[in-house]
Symmetry: C2
Subunit: 313 residues, 2 copies
Amino acid sequence: MTKKVGIESIAYYIPDNYKSNFNFKEEFEIDDYFIVEKIGVKRVSQKLATEDTSDLCIKAWESLRQNSAIEKEEIDCVIVVTQNPDNNIPHVSAKVHEALDLKENCACFDISLGCSGFVYALSVIESFIETNNFKKGLLFTADPYSKIIDRKDKNTALLFGDAAAVTVVGQKPIFCSGKYTFGTIGKMHKELICNNSLLYMNGRSIFDFVARYIPKDMNLLLEKNEMRMDSIDLFLFHQGSKYIIDTLVKRLKISAEKAPFLANEYGNTVSSTIPIMLSDFLDNHAYTNIVICGFGVGLSWSSCVLKRVINNK
Amino acid sequence: MTKKVGIESIAYYIPDNYKSNFNFKEEFEIDDYFIVEKIGVKRVSQKLATEDTSDLCIKAWESLRQNSAIEKEEIDCVIVVTQNPDNNIPHVSAKVHEALDLKENCACFDISLGCSGFVYALSVIESFIETNNFKKGLLFTADPYSKIIDRKDKNTALLFGDAAAVTVVGQKPIFCSGKYTFGTIGKMHKELICNNSLLYMNGRSIFDFVARYIPKDMNLLLEKNEMRMDSIDLFLFHQGSKYIIDTLVKRLKISAEKAPFLANEYGNTVSSTIPIMLSDFLDNHAYTNIVICGFGVGLSWSSCVLKRVINNK
């Protein structure tokens, strides 16, 4: 029986280049209340024009290397989650493989998913590693929406920030996942779509989708894992907007502290949202059971309970 | 312990619309020998301009439904392997989910890989199904290179055909996989790349890559699976060209019958190449152990031994 693998560490990169939403109050006819309380995003991070998706991944990797020793020889697979690759061919993970100078017997592929992508890909990489008896894998998320944002579209221009994260998954985990839930409402796929290199999002439809499916999904998730709502220390929901998080808090009747909105200073970084938040809780032993829940493009969602591994050394 | 899953059935769709390579002899200054013996491709299949990647998947699904009963309720996940999606956002699998009218609790995502994609994705979907205790999954491959072919480029225009395949993976397998091998040479990623929507392929580099890495990989694969070359009944290599297959036959010292070139009438259909070939051998009990081996974009490769399941009913 293969050993259960899980999250060993996380690092991320947020470009130190921001657009303040307060500068767009006149253009979009919005006020401070809308910025601070409704969407919750004061500014969005934005990559340089010279940075491509693989560059963001490489910077997340450099951040990882500053804080943890990792043997390249142990990296048996690399997954990059993105819908904004450098090129359609090849996959970004092949470019990352070159830049990181990884070994030849390393499996690299990209997964195309949006805001639910981290949770899906975590299940994919865990099972792929376990079945193939790998030591470690790198799960990158990097989906710079600045490539496709229509800067005149209030529905998206104020929300999405650029970032990348890298999650090390292996046999010495800090957190292991319980059972997952997954869902797709394919008939709603046009509510969040990129045509002719421009993003379109029907914010109202996405909100209705989240309000309808995510509370139900939380109940199913807890049931599958034989847990109760009050045994969860933290809910890290995808940070679509502060209003979405506030709504989930109300519907689930949980305290706002248990489901924080943390994207104020950089925005909705798509599939990097959850690993960026999660990285801050990895070493905080006050948090034993953490739910992560992503939702978005597809439309789709996925959730799981992460359980802290005690005495894994 | 979850039951080992494997391939239950395969169906495919090749557009009934062909370009004969014999019509390009003058333009490309080539002769019959080059067409028949060197590349081996007499004609390439081409989708209609009105067909998109998801449409090819849907037609493969319709073909599947003609020959096998499958309960939609049992389909717990859908993966589409492509680097030429309908749109970058959303993933093609979400559109397929809508068209097939699948259930809400169905996990859908795309994998970005080229000619090695079927083998990688087979490992991914098998492990994803087993870990999540799913019943069945659909693995689609659909990568219509006609979208990106430069029709004036002899290196690609005569080779690539359009097609899609769907492979049902579940708990009543005809073939189960043994251990896999994977590899990536990221520093060669520019040898097969799409820039500004046009494909570039350095045929010579790809050939050298295959000749250098694939024979070695075959030896590693057999070693990992504790098998000998002569216990393999069939080698289904990615059909890059007849010349590549001929070279592998020579280097591996196997008979040409054991490693056939079968793409004469439709061309190199990228990640659909292997499932299209494999579908013809599923019910032929003369074949017990089949090696599948894909190689291409990345550059990358993956191989596994498929073993026939006896008495699985």
